[in-house]
């Protein structure tokens, strides 16, 4: 069944969209990631204009994270003070990102920027995750405990704030910077940025693992909602119909994904996720490197 998307102005098969949402939802349930990094490139492949895919991707993440955040709030595994500091950085980052996004859209380079960001970040994160989980698999066989890294310089900065839930007394600058860079990513790539923020919170800020997921989701919801609003008001590229189809598929998929995720080992899951991230990265990189079938592109009106 074809469905006409009012903002993207293309007609897409509804079941393809629902299926896409379900698969991504399933993966996000399995791995505990937002799935934005998968949904946005997959929308490119479907022929949705990149500007619409990015803006709508941000909207979809609001839906896929909300129920998880509520669960974390109930379990009190959200460091609200840290979340707010990250959020302040995130809102500024998101504003800056949308500003850059709109400038490049006028120059006709937004496509390139989005794709380059994807290749760069998915490549780095995928490779790191792959190596890390291989090492974890090996060390779990040997039985050696994983080593926790410490970054001393973070503790030397001024403007110290006490984060009680995380048990930290550190400067507000690093969390603000982390929030800011994740906000930029949310605006440019249409992702929540959890895949960047979670490692940064653990390794850079030294937060305890149990509050990391909840706090990052808390920040992601507000930043992606803000990003959606900015895209809707400046570039007018949020497609509600597209978002709704993805959300419906996504929430159903997430429920199945959680069940599957609980039956698999953590290391196996992480290797699978790493392979998946690298595969998406490779596909986008190939498109940039190989000669495209059509070297001309048209842009009328907004896109």
């Amino acid at each position: 069944m074809q469905i006409y998307l009012p903002i993207a102005e293309v007609s897409v098969n509804l079941f393809v969209l629902l299926g896409l949402g379900t698969i991504v939802g399933m993966l996000s349930g399995m791995f505990g990631v937002g799935g934005g990094f998968l949904i946005t490139p997959l929308l490119f492949f479907l022929g949705i204009p990149p500007a619409v895919a990015v803006a709508t991707g941000a909207n979809q993440i609001v839906a896929s994270s909300i129920s998880a955040v509520l669960a974390h709030l109930k379990r009190k595994t959200v460091d609200l003070r840290m979340g707010v500091v990250l959020l302040i950085g995130g809102l500024f980052g998101s504003g800056f990102g949308v500003y850059v996004f709109n400038i490049l859209r006028e120059l006709g380079q937004v496509d390139l920027l989005v794709r380059l960001c994807y290749v760069l970040f998915l490549g780095i994160i995928g490779a790191l995750m792959f190596v890390e989980s291989l090492r974890a698999l090996r060390s779990s066989k040997r039985g050696a405990p994983p080593k926790r890294r410490q970054h001393g310089w973070v503790h030397g900065l001024p403007f110290k704030v006490r984060f009680r839930t995380s048990g930290l007394y550190i400067s507000a600058i690093p969390p603000l910077a982390v929030g800011f860079s994740v906000g930029i990513l949310a605006a440019i790539m249409g992702v929540g940025g959890g895949f960047i923020m979670v490692p940064a919170m653990i390794y850079l800020l030294g937060m305890p693992t149990k509050v990391v997921i909840g706090t990052s989701l808390f920040q992601i919801i507000f930043v992606t909602a803000f990003t959606t609003l900015l895209h809707a008001t400046t570039s007018m590229t949020v497609d509600i119909v597209l978002a709704l189809a993805l959300i419906v598929g996504g929430v159903i998929g997430a429920q199945f994904g959680t069940v599957i995720g609980m039956r698999m080992k953590a290391e196996q899951l992480r290797i699978l996720l790493a392979v998946l991230v690298l595969a998406v990265c490779g596909k986008i990189a190939l498109e940039l490197l190989l000669r495209p079938a059509e070297i001309y592109s048209l842009s009328a009106g907004g896109f």
């Binding site: 007609s11 978002a243 709704l244």
Partner: protein, 258 residues
Amino acid sequence: MRGLAVLLLMLCAPALAQEGAPPQEEVVLGLSQNEVSISTDFDGSDILIFGAIKRETPIPDGPPIQVLITVSGPSVPITVRRKERRFGIWVNTDAVDVDSAPSFYAVATSASWSQTISDIEDLRHRVSIPRAIRSVGAPMTVQDSQSFTAAIIRIRKENGLYQRAEDTVDVSQQTLFNTAIRMPANLTEGAYRTRILLTRGGKVISQREAVIEVRKVGLERWLFNLSREQPLAYGLLSIAIAIAAGWGASAAFRMIRS
């Protein structure tokens, strides 16, 4: 006063000469629909265009009458960009602004192109696809601006937005004609100008125009207008829907499980 009258006469003269005696053959036009509605399940539409040739006199001798039908969507300026390899990756580099190109253009003829219309008449009436696109000039840095116009035609032909269908108008008894034009799903809104041209020996002898309105309806219309007129409300609505759907779904699944 007299001078003014003469001037007026002179101004009118060419027009009068062009019209000449009332044409012996005229088009009477019909459309299967003069409105195309883009609803949520819009999947393209076929428009049947039919008509007759009205005559006061017997069918003239000479080459048979031919019919050309064009449908053109609203014209908008577009930017055509070309990718080039820079630092190993493909990047948009040169850009050419085309002043106006129809978002949709279909031309159907009753015989092969050369039999239907001469090049001069094509130029005058802007019938063929390249003639329908107007490009004033490319920046000095771009040498081959024609290849950019050619790219518009190539890309839009692939999307079904530009069509040249020769020999698809049925003409019976030199009087009745009909054809079907396929309008694809990726249409934009606006007034679609439909033209019927009658030609004999490559010369246009009569023409008539009608307008097909293409518009989004219902939900599509409402959402599109909201996003353009009240972007803030639209943005808040999309966030509200996302929150409600995400929270509602997890609540529903919890109920099913317990």
